[in-house]
């Protein structure tokens, strides 16, 4: 049956209603898992609370397994699913900047919204900073257009909407199995690390 809206099984008009509903579920689960407290989030980098790693990896693994089972069963047509495009330098440079912003600001765009929703002023400030950052980027776009579009000096950066398994030509099923094993191993070791790290109360 594939993605319902792109295949017009559900009319396009429902798209925004579904967006709100899915957003609510997303917000509810993230807040309840503790993503509204920046100190709990940053625990990942200081070893005292691996919530982010556990939720993030479990969600990725569950979705990837689900998607490829659905694809095998013919429930979803992967050629209609939006695959995040790959711009090599843009992904790396953008990621590095975001990592710095993550560890200094304590939030990411999604979690800052969640923090703001329950009254965290630093969440609100972070979101304002986010908008300022986007404004700065947009104004400085002519300078950064090369990295963003993968043109000029960064020509050939755009590898298209390809998956990591297509790029390295390995079977996605095998990759997901490997990724799951790595994830479960990470859960186990982070548990050990947390026991040794000095606990931080927040």
């Amino acid at each position: 049956m594939g993605p319902l809206i792109p295949l017009h099984i559900i009319p396009e008009t429902w798209n925004h209603v579904i967006a709100v509903l899915l957003g609510m579920a997303f917000g509810f689960i993230m807040e309840s898992s503790g993503f509204s407290s920046s100190r709990k989030i940053v625990g990942l980098f200081y070893g005292y609370d691996f919530t982010v790693l556990r939720v993030f990896f479990t969600a990725t693994v569950v979705t990837a397994i689900g998607l490829y089972y659905f694809s095998y069963m013919g429930w979803i047509d992967m050629s209609f699913v939006y695959i995040h495009p790959t711009y090599l330098t843009a992904a790396i440079v953008g990621g590095l900047i975001m990592g710095l912003g993550f560890v200094s600001g304590g939030y990411c765009p999604g979690t800052s919204l969640i923090g703001a929703a329950i009254g965290r002023i630093d969440g609100i400030v972070f979101t304002t900073g986010l908008m300022i950052g986007i404004f700065l980027f947009s104004e400085a776009f002519p300078v950064l257009e090369g990295i963003y579009e993968g043109t000029g000096m960064f020509d050939g950066d755009f590898l298209g909407y390809i998956t990591i398994t297509e790029y390295f030509n390995i079977s996605p099923h095998l990759f997901i199995f490997g990724f799951t094993v790595v994830a479960v191993a990470a859960f186990y070791f982070t548990n050990l690390i947390r026991k040794r790290v000095k606990p931080v109360n927040y």
């Binding site: 099923h173 799951t180 479960v184």
Partner: protein, 205 residues
């Protein structure tokens, strides 16, 4: 409590391993047999030498010739601008971008159209769109384009236009000016005029 986590971890790994056991890598993103059969019966894959010649003369960018004969046959002669992909390594990744170009008609050429047909079946199965087979292959090309037969006077007007077009094409493709041309009008073989209209079924001997 940690025993519960081991079980859940194990369940997750087993579910992921189940993914690996899914048998069906042979049919993954291939055109299923029923659809392939429809394509085979539609006969719309054939493209006549006249059409290919006229599009090449107009330098039509949306036609791309692929010669599936062996490299050594390719070196003796091939159509101008044809890329040589021997049938054995038709499905190598190296040739994938050429075969799956969008918006370009890929015409498969071989001596007759047996190899081209086989290549076409495998290309269609892998899901490449707009792949065509040169009807009759190079044999037909040489019979029609390079040695155009003078139609009998009783033939309709289009036969004569076709004939003049073919003479021009023959010159264009190095078939030499018409006086030098071998006008072997074998009496017993009736001039088979290739109807440019795509015939419905390619039956008959």
């Amino acid at each position: 409590m940690s025993k519960r986590y081991f079980i859940l971890g194990a369940v997750l790994i087993i579910v992921a391993f189940g993914l690996v056991l899914l048998p069906d890598s042979v049919n993954k993103d291939q055109v299923p047999p029923e659809k392939l059969l429809k394509e085979i019966m539609s006969q719309s894959r054939y493209i006549s030498p006249d059409l290919v010649a006229s599009r090449m003369i107009d330098e039509d960018p949306s036609i791309f010739l692929v010669d599936v004969r062996s490299a050594e046959e390719y070196s003796t002669y091939s159509l101008p601008g044809a890329l040589n992909i021997p049938l054995e390594n038709l499905l190598d990744n190296e040739w994938k971008p050429y075969l799956e170009q969008t918006g370009v008609d890929v015409v498969l050429i071989s001596n007759d159209n047996l190899y081209a047909e086989q290549a076409w079946v495998l290309c269609t199965r892998s899901g490449y769109k707009n792949i065509y087979v040169l009807k009759g292959g190079l044999n037909q090309w040489f019979a029609d384009i390079m040695q155009p037969q003078m139609p009998a006077p009783t033939e309709p007007a289009e036969a004569f236009d076709l004939y003049t077009f073919r003479k021009g094409a023959s010159k264009y493709f190095g078939g030499g000016s018409d006086d030098q041309m071998v006008t072997s009008n074998k009496s017993e073989s009736l001039p088979v005029i290739q109807r440019t209209k795509k015939s419905a079924a390619a039956g008959g001997c």
